[in-house]
């Protein structure tokens, strides 16, 4: 505190002396600082030599030291104040002495600042690459661990140096205080630096600009710090330094008014950052079931977890769908629409009333459930309801459209993101390397899973090697082909059979329905759903058996299997829909009859009432007594809801019996059984990821299909997903074993997504067809009385919007405008596709270029190395005459050296033989002539070995001069 006061006083004082002086004072000071910095740097270098360990310790000690120093400083505060004032006066005197050098000095200072900054940046970057460099160096010269050790230290010193430069420049308190043996003098210097720091007004615009740059740089550094592969300690030190620097100098930016604003801005950004971080934390905390999934992930690897992540994703989508239908359709109708029992469509008919509350009826979604907001038929065609004038039919229609549109959007967006993430993942150029480097799933924390993974990796390796060795193994290809054709034929038979079965069952159920459901057993009433669920359960097993015939690679087999199950489900679903369509047509015929009957009934009723008393108020007929049409929309909704319910039940029961009961039996019967149940035949079940994902996808497809006619479907599905999340998590953890065939999740992710998209498309198709082509029922649902359901849009346009809007809309929707627009879109799609294709080509080209360049570089390097060697030889050659000369002079020639020389020559010869461009022999003869003066530099001087030695330095010199020129080639 005292320090600050001192500085401020100083500042004020300087201010009063005038702006000109002020700037110069600062620069002067700056210069001095630099000198001191250098001095300090020197000291530091000395200290550094004392050992790296100390340096590290020093850094860690920094914090404590700083505190100590702070205390010391406070003590000295008063003394310092006076001394600094004196200093300032002294400086002014100095300035007066040297007015001429001022400007030049100032310029230099600025330059220095800049230089230093750039240097610093470089250093920082270097730091980044320090490790890499280290590696590269090592790669070139492979030495023992000794060398390595050295290099590490080297890296450390580089880092440390960088840190020091930084610190020097910014006069970090941490830095200075980190030196334990700070002398009194140094303390003083430190105070000076402090003074400088807190005097931002003295900065020139350019310096301010630079400072700002530096601050921004620091901020960037802080931002990117987490992405640096450094040890935490180093990151911490860097962070603290940078933070301190930013804190210190941020306030210095901007002047007067601007400064306040700037400070405010800085504060706000800080707050905003903090808020953002907290929000991120909050967001991750909000992701449901994160811990559960992670636990599963660690036990079963990422593929099983991917199912649960997919389930969660589905849950999220259904949540949105539920919010849409619940908030915009169900709740408004329930709150603001006419209450139950006011109009025929909202009342249970008299005939059904006695059994309307029976559980069996409710379970089938008849009775009161049928005449509630859960189904289409309950909604009234009143245009606006409640005091809000909520446009109910319009809302119903738009929610239906919005549901589909949102689903499309989400699925496609996710697919695109997945495709982006995987990038160009479909090329097989790194087949082996990927298997090697990325096949381990680090999430596996369960020894058993790990063992399975080891086994599967081994098989993957072996398979890959085999595939590589014999890319096409065609032993008895005719048999294989025949078997495959047979298998496909069998599968097709299965599919056709299951389709026919469903059709048959649906038709039969219609007959039952006409007879009246009460006369039949539970099985006959639920036949359709049960048959569909059972088919879904047993056909995949059949396919599995059939696929054993085909002898495919497991991955291919898995895809075939998935494709077949997909086809089965799809076939079943579509048969179901076709049967439903038949039923719809039947109901519509029935409706026509009912319509006719109603008119006669009404007429007769009117006649009766008229004949009774013509003046009486209109007769009140109980809404329950009014005859009504069959309302096919509700029927469709009911069918889908029943389907979902039975599907859910089957899933859960299979889970309980197939997994839980089996696990229990295996676990407890194992004590008294003749063979090992756990390891032998029944064993525990595996978690079937693909089957479960497919089930989920089809379930979702049914939701999309039926949601328009039964607004309760998303809610039901939400419930189902919620329950299955917990149930399956539990089942997996308690009664499943890790898969033997552990396959990667992300690779098949988009495969599932593509399936989902196909299902979405196929399920919206019938829904859209019914909406567009079949006229709505005359006495139920929000669109009753209209010719087509989408007429509600036109109605809204005509009555709720101003005239010009509908005019614009109608003119915009005429074919003359729509057709060109479609054409334009097609063109755009074509254009984008062709550009993407060309980008891909460019990519391939670049890759090729890169490869060829690499090869060329390699060649060049080899050549360069060869040339360098030749030069070396030349130099030696040039040097050797002198040696020989000396040898001649000397009576005792150094035998050893001679031998060495000979060896070297033979080696050289060997190299030149091997090299692509053998060195011309003439060179040897010529060069000594051109280089004749060289030996003369060492004329017949010393004897023996001493005389020989100079050739080494010469040789080195020659190389040093030559190599750069070679690299330019």
């Amino acid at each position: 505190m005292a320090m600050l006061i001192a500085t401020w006083k100083h500042c004020v004082y300087v201010f009063s002396t005038g702006l000109e002086d002020e700037v110069d004072t600062f620069q002067e000071e700056h210069e001095r600082e630099r000198h001191r910095g250098k001095r300090r740097d020197g000291e530091r270098a000395k200290k550094k030599k004392r050992g790296n360990g100390e340096g590290r310790k020093r850094a860690s000690r920094a914090g404590r030291e700083e505190e100590k120093l702070q205390a010391r400083r406070e003590k000295k505060g008063r003394r310092k104040k006076s001394s600094s004032d004196q200093e300032a006066e002294g400086r002014e005197g100095d300035e007066a002495d040297q007015p001429t050098t001022k400007s030049s000095k100032a310029a230099k200072t600025r330059k220095n600042v800049k230089n230093e900054k750039t240097r610093k940046v470089e250093k920082e970057e270097k730091e980044d690459e320090a490790d890499d460099e280290e590696r590269n160096r090592k790669r070139k010269k492979k030495h023992g661990s000794n060398k390595k050790e050295e290099n590490v230290e080297d890296g450390n010193t580089v880092k440390e140096k960088a840190g020091e430069v930084k610190k020097k420049k910014h006069k970090k308190v941490v830095e200075t205080s980190s030196e334990k043996e700070t002398s009194e003098e140094e303390d003083n210097e430190e105070e000076d630096s402090e003074e400088k720091e807190v005097r931002p007004e003295t900065l020139t615009p350019e310096e301010l600009e630079m400072l700002k740059e530096a601050v921004d740089e620091r901020k960037k550094l802080i931002q990117g710090l987490r992405g640096k592969p450094w040890a935490m300690k180093k990151k911490l030190v860097t962070l603290r330094e940078s933070q301190e620097f930013v804190d210190k100098y941020e306030g210095a930016l901007g002047k007067g008014k601007g400064r306040k604003l700037y400070a405010y801005k800085v504060m706000m950004t800080k707050k905003w950052m903090k808020f953002k971080r907290d929000f991120e934390n909050f967001k991750t905390a909000c992701i449901p079931w994160e811990m559960k999934i992670k636990e599963i992930e660690s036990h079963f690897g990422s593929s099983v977890a991917s199912y649960f992540i997919f389930l969660r994703w589905m849950y999220g989508i259904n949540m949105i769908l539920f919010c849409l239908t619940f908030g915009l359709v169900m709740v408004p109708e329930a709150l603001m629409g006419r209450p139950y029992g006011t109009i025929p469509r909202k009342t249970v008919p008299r005939a059904e009333a006695p059994s309307a509350m029976d559980f069996a009826v409710l379970w089938d979604f008849g009775g009161y459930a049928q005449y509630s907001v859960l189904f289409y038929g309950y909604y009234n065609n009143q245009r606006a309801i409640g005091w809000l004038k909520f446009r109910m039919p319009l809302s119903y229609f738009l929610v239906g459209v919005g549901t589909v549109a949102y689903s499309y959007m989400v699925v496609i967006r996710t697919m695109a993101r997945n495709a982006n993430e995987s990038g160009v993942g479909d090329d097989n150029s790194f087949n082996f390397s990927w298997k090697m480097f990325t096949s381990w799933d680090y999430l596996i924390g369960n020894p058993e899973t790990a063992d399975n993974k080891f086994a599967s990796i081994t098989t993957i390796f072996k398979e890959a090697i085999l595939e590589e060795q014999e890319s096409r193994k065609d032993d008895n290809i005719h048999l294989t082909r025949f078997l495959r054709v047979l298998a496909n034929f069998l599968v097709l038979c299965c599919l056709a059979g299951s389709g026919y079965l469903i059709y048959f069952v649906v038709r039969r159920s219609q007959k039952f329905a006409l007879d009246g459901l009460e006369n039949h057993t539970w099985w006959e009433r639920n036949e359709v759903n049960m048959v569909m669920s059972l088919l879904g359960m047993f056909c995949p097993m059949l396919f599995d058996v059939i696929s054993a015939l085909e002898n495919y690679h497991p991955r291919v087999a898995l895809q075939w299997q998935l494709g077949r199950i997909f086809a089965l489900f799809l076939g079943n679903l579509y048969t179901f829909i076709i049967a439903l369509m038949d039923e719809i047509n039947l109901k519509r015929e029935e409706e026509n009859i009912v319509k006719f009957n109603i008119t006669t009934w009404e007429a007769s009723h009117y006649n009766i009432s008229a004949s009774e008393n013509s003046t009486s108020p209109p007769v009140t007929i109980q809404p329950a007594d009014v005859p009504r049409g069959p309302c096919w929309e509700t029927m469709v909704g009911q069918e889908f809801v029943r389907l979902i319910i039975s599907d859910t039940m089957t899933t859960y029961i299979t889970l309980l019996i197939g997994d839980f009961l089996r696990a229990v039996l295996v676990r407890f019967l194992n004590y008294c059984w003749c063979w090992d149940l756990e390891a032998g035949f029944p064993s525990y079940s595996e978690f079937d990821v693909s089957g479960n994902v497919l089930g989920l996808i089809f379930n979702q497809g049914m939701i999309w299909m039926g949601a328009f006619y039964a607004p309760c479907l998303p809610a039901l599905n939400l419930l189902r997903l919620h329950v299955s999340m917990y149930l399956q998590c539990w089942a997996v953890m308690c009664c499943n074993v890790p898969q033997e065939r552990v396959f990667k999740a992300s690779g098949s992710n988009n495969f599932y997504m593509a399936m989902l998209l196909v299902i979405l498309f196929l399920s919206t198709l019938p829904a859209i067809y019914t909406i567009v082509t079949i006229p709505p029922s005359f006495d139920c649902g929000p669109f009753s009385g209209k010719k087509r359901m989408f007429d509600v849009i036109q109605e809204t346009l005509e009555s709720d919007f101003p005239a010009w809007f509908s005019k614009v809309f109608s003119s915009a929707s005429n074919p003359g405008l729509v057709l060109p627009f479609i054409l334009l879109m097609v063109l755009a799609i074509y254009y984008l596709q062709s550009t993407s294709k060309s980008y891909k080509e460019a990519n391939v080209d670049l890759k090729k270029k890169l490869q060829t360049q690499n090869e060329e570089n390699k060649k060049k390097n080899k050549l360069a190395a060869l040339k360098a060697q030749m030069d070396l030889e030349e130099a030696r050659k040039a040097a050797s005459p002198s040696a020989e000369h000396q040898k001649n002079n000397n009576a005792s020639p150094d035998q050893e050296a001679d031998e060495e020389e000979d060896r070297g020559r033979s080696q050289r010869m060997y190299h030149s033989k091997n090299g692509r461009s053998p060195p011309p022999h003439r060179h040897y003869g010529q060069l000594p002539a051109t280089r004749a003066p060289v030996p003369r530099n060492y004329p017949h001087g010393n004897q023996g070995s001493a005389g020989y030695l100079p050739s080494f330095p010469r040789e080195n010199e020659a190389r040093m001069h030559r190599v750069p020129s070679l690299q330019r080639h």
Partner: protein, 189 residues
């Protein structure tokens, strides 16, 4: 470094958040798990280092074939014994976290695979790597012939400059195209 989660100072916590890819909850959890590894008398010392043997008892690392390498890479110990301080531990978790970038993940993966710490993946490293991946048992091990073939294939693919080893940039080039590296190079507490 305190001994309980509450003693992990607020400043430290925010700094750690700044420096790692972890969220606050994850850091706190990491701290909890780390202090569980400390013995009683160690808990009072600041800045203590947990030896590798005790780190490896963590279930998340227990069955990982690279567990020792991971410890060695993230350890800042002077004795090269693979002991981890809490900060090293955080570094580890950060590199293996969900949100870590591909760059940092591939950097550490390279260092983990570089068994002899010489900055390149040479044949010896690759062999050790394959042995790690195929497990310790004999029936899953590859024959020498297969091993040679495999390593040759790998070098063929990823050794772009054909110097017989895979260096960091080649490694990163290979990894960056892999569809499932980021999703599998994860360790979650």
């Amino acid at each position: 470094m305190g001994t309980t989660a509450s003693q992990l100072g607020k400043d430290m916590l925010s700094e750690y958040q700044e420096l790692t890819f972890l969220t606050k909850q994850e850091i706190l959890l990491a701290h909890k798990r780390f202090t569980e590894l400390l013995t009683k008398d160690e808990k009072d010392l600041p800045n203590n280092r947990v030896p590798m043997e005790r780190i490896l008892t963590l279930p998340e690392l227990k069955s990982n074939p690279f567990r020792k390498r991971i410890c060695n890479v993230f350890s800042t110990s002077e004795y090269k014994d693979g002991g981890l301080t809490f900060e090293d531990f955080l570094d580890l978790l950060s590199a293996f976290s969900d949100s870590a970038t591909l760059e940092i993940k591939s950097h550490y993966a390279f260092r983990i695979f570089d068994f002899d710490d010489d900055g390149t993946l040479d044949c010896g490293d690759l062999e050790k790597l394959v042995n790690c991946l195929t497990g310790e048992t004999d029936d899953t091990r590859l024959t020498p012939e297969e091993m040679r073939q495999l390593i040759n294939n790998i070098l063929e693919e990823s050794d772009i400059d054909k110097d017989g080893t895979v260096n960091l940039s080649e490694f990163q080039h290979v990894i960056s195209r892999s569809p499932d590296f980021v999703s599998s190079f994860k360790i979650v507490l």
